[in-house]
């Protein structure tokens, strides 16, 4: 009788926590609470930070058995171990491990994105290219810091400010860094309004920030339908490794612009996107176990991510200044910062910094051009890394 009671008590959550909870796990749970605070109270990317933080919280509770990373430690999934001891999060993590979630999220993003500002002002596409500078500079910095080519590629891609792309590349090239990179990428995306404005103000003059850009021309439906097909074709020809991401992005957009698949558009942009976001967030968060996360390179990755993101912003703004000079003052350099692909947050930031100088100067639509170009640009940059190192 006494043995039965003792056995029961030893298997309660309280006993397990007292017995097995390490200080590292307590620290990780603390970090998950900070992320929950940022998501819930401060409103920073809550759709992603909340599931990521909760996944982190769950996985660091002792003996929940929800995530067993040893199943995924090899290059391929250990299917026998998965069926024998796989928990819920292990099954959800398959979507990350097999590279399914990021393209599906791109499908949803495509269904929600209006490329008209880019089609109406095609030259802004180069701002989306220039803002990928941070990716490659950070690649070099990461190599200098001691990371190998594969890891440096995954770290550099944080500079694209594109969560799904960062996860996709990391999963392909350096899966062991996934938690740190995913958390860094989404944290910096959430911090766009804090990180970018000081850089934008420092690199531009008041006169440049006050430039009022000409109204965008109307874009025909035919252009909007041809655009996704054309982009897919071009990207698949030049960087085939970027095709899964860009292809899904453009499929979502084609569904939207064709106007004949309304039900699919609604599903892609809402239900599918939301389901995948929950699965992706919670399973990525669950990979952040204390023993794999609390390492020197995690701090390095987070630092490098900030460098990547800042340099990308610098690249975009400097190219914006170049376009300002070339066009004799017709382009507001602030829209260059939106070339990082955090859509639409980066465009909103460009708009709000412009409004600080001239309360009547709305740059939102002009910034949306480089912003959506940045999505394509970062996917192409990802394809470059994959083709070089995969």
């Amino acid at each position: 009788m006494l043995e039965a009671i003792t056995g029961f008590l030893e298997n309660t959550g309280i006993a397990i926590i007292i017995r097995d909870l390490s200080w590292q796990s307590v620290l990780m749970i603390g970090i998950s609470f900070v992320l929950l605070y940022l998501g819930i109270v401060r409103g920073f990317e809550p759709l992603l930070l909340v599931p990521i933080a909760f996944g982190m919280f769950l996985t660091n509770l002792p003996n929940t058995g929800m995530m067993n990373m040893e199943i995924f430690s090899g290059t391929a999934v250990d299917w026998a171990m998965l069926s024998a001891k796989g928990g819920l999060l292990d099954y959800l993590y398959l979507g990350v491990k097999l590279g399914i979630y990021p393209p599906l999220i791109f499908l949803g993003i495509g269904a929600m994105t209006d490329f008209s500002p880019l089609i109406a002002n095609p030259k802004t596409i180069f701002l989306g290219a220039a803002a990928q500078l941070g990716i490659f500079i950070t690649f070099a910095a990461s190599r200098l810091a001691g990371f190998d080519n594969l890891e440096a590629s995954a770290i550099g891609i944080i500079g694209g400010a594109d969560g799904p792309t960062a996860i996709y590349v990391t999963k392909m090239l350096a899966a062991h860094l996934l938690p740190a990179i995913a958390i860094a990428a989404y944290s910096y995306m959430a911090l766009v309004p804090i990180i970018q404005p000081p850089i934008m103000r420092a690199l531009t003059t008041k006169k440049e920030r006050a430039v009022v850009m000409a109204q965008l021309r109307p874009v025909s439906k035919t252009e909007r339908i041809i655009f996704p097909i054309m982009v897919t074709l071009v990207v698949a020809m030049i960087v085939p490794d970027a095709a899964p991401l860009v292809g899904c992005l453009m499929l979502g957009n084609l569904l939207k612009e064709s106007g004949v698949a309304e039900r699919l558009v609604k599903t892609a942009a809402n239900e599918l996107m939301n389901i995948v976001t929950i699965f992706l967030g919670i399973s990525v968060g669950a990979t952040a176990k204390a023993e794999t996360f609390l390492k020197r390179e995690t701090l390095l990755i987070i630092g490098m991510g900030l460098v990547a993101f800042s340099i990308s912003t610098v690249g975009g703004v400097l190219f914006g200044k170049f376009m300002y000079w070339i066009t004799k003052g017709k382009v507001n350099p602030l829209i260059g910062s939106a070339g990082v692909s955090a859509v639409p947050m980066a465009a909103r930031v460009a708009n709000s910094v412009g409004l600080e100088t001239d309360p009547n100067n709305y740059l939102l639509m002009h910034a949306m051009g480089p912003n959506v170009a940045g999505v394509i640009g970062s996917a192409v940059a990802a394809g470059v890394f994959l083709s070089l190192f995969q």
């Binding site: 596409i125 190599r143 025909s220 071009v234």
Partner: protein, 155 residues
């Protein structure tokens, strides 16, 4: 640019290997690994400088091709001015909505500004999220109809 593109398409891999041969005496590298796990060996390492140059060139080249394609597309498919003579009637209901900085509801197709020449900022989801900076007498196109900013009179 076309040359760079063609080069990348047809000679890309060879180019990468050539650069690695130029920079290093061997085409096989053992990669250092901060994380401590086993590092894979790859056949060639293009070198950090080459990755930066190749990466930026390819990103710019890919987006440049899209740029040129968009320019061609614009030439062929840009909306014409067929409906340029159509004028919208004044709609007092819409006028009430169109306060400075207002976001016009989806169901509103046209916006007519009736302020006395004051610049107004209107966002119309009906035409995407297109921005209109309007003065009295200005025109804008929405749903293939050209609208003219009036002073509260039917045009």
């Amino acid at each position: 640019m076309v040359y760079v593109m063609l080069y990348m398409i047809f000679f890309y891999e060879e180019g990468v290997r050539d650069m690695s041969f130029a920079e290093h005496s061997s085409d096989t590298f053992s990669l250092s690994h901060v994380g401590g796990s086993t590092a894979p060996e790859i056949a060639s390492d293009p070198g950090v400088g080459a990755v930066i140059v190749i990466g930026l060139v390819i990103v710019f080249a890919a987006l440049a091709v899209i740029f040129f394609a968009m320019m061609v597309m614009e030439r062929i498919f840009r909306p014409g001015s067929k409906a340029a003579s159509v004028r919208a009637p004044f709609d007092g209901r819409i006028e009430c909505i169109a306060a400075k900085g207002a976001v016009v509801p989806d169901e509103v197709v046209a916006v007519v500004c009736t302020t006395n020449g004051e610049r107004m900022e209107l966002l119309s989801p009906a035409a995407g999220i297109i921005r209109f900076l309007l003065h009295e007498g200005d025109s804008f196109q929405s749903k293939d109809v050209l609208f003219t900013v009036g002073r509260g009179e039917s045009k």
